[in-house]
Symmetry: C2
Subunit: 363 residues, 2 copies
């Protein structure tokens, strides 16, 4: 992989691809894109550099939006708020950041770091800490690698800010989640400050390039009148699980998350079959006629059947014709420690993990 310069025009396919990897979560990709477009227009284009090019002693500050995607749609962060999160952490650490990074590949959190990178004139790393999106802040590969989430900064749109310095990453999640709820269910956080060497060991490389490529794959399939859903499944090495029409969505914003279930009634070949998707920000379980097909940590993606456009959980509507794709996650998530952190039981589902192709997670 080589360095690339991301322009405003690239942000459309990149945001679309990020929403695919977001697996239903990560917030509205359009809002993140609009923010990033404005930041690039004001502050210039952003250099996206490969993980392996980052110097071992680099000071890398990841940045993300935290909260319920349902709320993020109504509370758009400002460029200043995003920059403040990064600067507050840098000041607390007494370090000068050399690189900005993404915590997750998904929706808003693939584009918000462009805002920080453009505003501060820093390169952005082509990769992220999950390879997909997950709802809680300790759910990252750096946690598996023993990296501390804190010191972390947390900033709201009103001007309140804070720094947390906790004994472990679960405590960071707990305290930051409460603060996020108090602050109105959407904050900007900078956390998991790492050296370049730590990034190389603990990131999923190349996910921003993958987002861009996924977005372009969807555009190309449409332009060439190919099936965009099939094209996404192929690009991710996954499979199409189901095609149908949204029959019902139950959602509630609880404890700072968007939780719920969606029912997709089969159409065409799948008429008479019914898929239930369980989500907490992201889709976590897919059941077909009562049979468990796929669970977290593998990826469950909902796409518009005609356009291949990814559909976030908060955008699911009755009557929407959608297809459901499953795809493999980074293999480190299938380790015992990975399953403990993001497997179905952590989310309260008393089932064993099932991989995207129906096989079991066990090594």
């Amino acid at each position: 992989m080589s360095a690339m310069r991301v322009t405003q025009a690239d942000l459309v396919p990149l945001a679309r691809g990020a929403a695919v990897l977001g697996g239903g979560g990560g917030g509205d990709p359009h809002i993140g894109r609009l923010l990033a477009e404005r930041a690039l227009a004001q502050h210039g284009e952003v250099d996206v550099v490969p993980v392996e090019s980052v110097p071992a002693d680099a000071c890398v500050l990841p940045i993300a939006m935290m909260g319920a995607p349902t709320v993020m749609v109504e509370k758009i962060p400002s460029v200043d708020q995003i920059a403040t999160a990064l600067e507050t952490l840098a000041r607390y650490l007494g370090r000068t950041p050399t690189h900005v990074a993404c915590m997750e590949a998904g929706g808003v959190n693939s584009t918000v770091p462009f805002v920080a990178a453009a505003r501060l004139g820093l390169p952005l790393i082509d990769g992220d800490a999950m390879g997909r999106a997950f709802p809680e802040l300790q759910m990252v590969l750096p946690t598996l690698g023993g990296i501390q989430a804190t010191p972390m900064s947390i900033v709201d749109e009103k001007g309140n800010k804070g720094v947390l310095d906790t004994i472990d990453n679960h405590w960071a999640e707990r305290l930051a989640r409460s603060a996020t709820i108090d602050m109105g269910c959407a904050t900007i956080v900078s956390l998991y400050a790492m050296t370049g060497a730590q990034v190389r060991d603990n990131f999923v490389p190349g996910t921003l390039s993958l987002c861009l490529d996924l977005g372009r794959t969807i555009e190309r399939a449409r332009a060439e009148h190919h099936d965009p859903v099939r094209a996404v499944a192929d690009r991710l090495g996954g499979r199409v699980l189901h095609t149908g029409k949204v029959l019902d969505v139950a959602r509630r914003t609880a404890t700072g998350f968007a939780r719920g279930e969606a029912i997709v009634e089969g159409l065409g070949d799948q008429k008479g079959s019914r898929m239930v998707l369980h989500f907490q920000n992201e889709h976590l379980l897919a059941e077909l006629d009562g049979q468990l097909l796929v669970t977290s940590p593998d990826l469950i993606v909902v796409l518009d059947t005609d356009t291949g456009e990814p559909v976030t959980t908060e955008a699911l509507r009755y009557g929407h014709r959608v297809s459901v794709v499953s795809a493999p996650c980074d293999e480190r998530w299938h380790s015992p420690a990975g399953i403990e952190l993001v497997g179905p039981r952590y989310f309260g589902y008393e089932v064993d993990p099932v991989r995207f192709d129906g096989s079991t997670s066990a090594a």
Copy 2:
């Protein structure tokens, strides 16, 4: 007033007097005293200096315990935790503290600052930010004087810590309260960093001396077989409202506070009369036979009728023979802004404030 050196022996009367000014709140005075005794034994005695002697450019860091007094009894803070709170704020500010100070005159929060002062070898200021105890952190005279509560540090006994930097003092209370609840309902905080000049304008001077004197007044009355309740009322310029027996106490630990009501059935001259005390950490309203006698911001103090020992709200028990004293607070609390901050309506009681002597608050 002149400087004094506080010894371990002084801490017994000082803690007793602090529990009087605590007005039922501020936590168990014995726990605070034991902590301070240990700190003085390890680190030496503490110089307590008059407010007017503090240099205008001094860097004063107040320190306090935050949370529900009912929980503080079971989660005793450590010397390290107390020192960490102060050091975390000092580091964030980039300042070297010259003085430690008390936020409130009441129970634990009059003695916890001795721990920090002894451990760090700094003088403690003879005064506090309230002249009594109140349950929320914005309820201090510095708020009336336009002083910001933040940056503030917050530290738990497990090793979690944080810094909050908020847009106003109500936001500081809100975010620190949530963090305190998450951290187990008791934390150590350092906040309202001030210059010496700001302390002179915004503190109630001489309250630690007053605590010591009140404690000794009670001891002397007992030794000389005078009525200790009357002695406390006289020393505070207040009056004895009621003498009786605790008939019932309803308490609940809700949203991080110890809330409740106590009923005191009259004895002797007051047989047949019934006093209801409403508290939220501190006693806030005293009613006799349905008539409102006194409200916050004036002081409502419950004392053991025989010994004059102050009784905290969490120590109130059925059958306890107690007397209720009311006394004036610092006059600044009776300003319109003061009443808005700590008057009965703020606490959800739809009544006008009544002063310790039954007069109204209006200027």
